[in-house]
Symmetry: C2
């Protein structure tokens, strides 16, 4: 019986770990953007993918939310392998592990920012501000 | 020239989006566990994968950290398609969008909890407690 293309694709997404008696397969978790950071004319908003608009029900009642987004500009194997940094890119700051910093290079490129909710209209959440480039993919919102 | 297995695997990880004039390809972001939640004898700790131990430098100086982890038990297409829930699984609570709740079903299954750091020894961070099953994969730590 032939495996479906989708099944093969899913199978290929398991990390290509060398087989051996000691090393276990490392799982891979996949995510897609649920929206994007937008900025124009001094305003900042999150445009939620229309598919996910039902997930916004009740967000308008919240004063603030956590925005989880992806440092997509650093999504290279080299940058994701960086485990220690000089905080704020200042070589005079002593080296710190990325888990002790908010550096935008880390094994899993998740960013976390609290924002104020100004309004929610259809699939658009206007917020006060966020330290992310326009076009940055948003992964999740939480109260 | 033949593509390498790794290159083919990476290619297969692009979402299998139907081709067409209107629909753009949806990017896929991949993550792996950097550690796991452990619980035994009334103690709770995070075991960091030895590969990532250098990323802990300085965590011992923090009183508390954010733990980002993956709701791995809900990682099915069906559960990730749930966009509205009755909070706390109580049908008397009115439906809310998952972005307005902390529900463990959401498009991207990221969980976020603040924890107190009790100690850091080698690749083990002892913490006060966390509302996650033992064995839960940890994605990131942040101050």
């Amino acid at each position: 019986m032939l495996a479906s293309t989708a099944a093969m694709a899913a199978e290929s997404c398991r990390a290509p770990v060398p087989h051996g008696p000691v090393q276990a397969a490392v799982p891979v978790y996949t995510m897609g953007p649920v929206g994007w950071v937008r900025k124009a004319d001094g305003r900042t908003w999150i445009e939620i993918d229309k598919r996910y608009q039902p997930a916004l029900l009740g967000v308008d009642a919240l004063q603030s939310i956590w925005v989880l987004y992806w440092f997509d500009r650093n999504d290279t194997p080299e940058r994701r392998a960086i485990l220690q940094v000089h905080p704020r890119r200042n070589p005079e700051n002593p080296l710190r592990g990325v888990f002790a910093t908010r550096a935008p290079v880390r094994p899993n490129l998740i960013a976390l920012s609290p924002v104020r909710v100004l309004s929610v209209r259809e699939n658009v959440i206007e917020i006060d501000s966020i330290d992310a480039f326009p076009g940055t993919p948003v992964l999740d919102l939480k109260p």
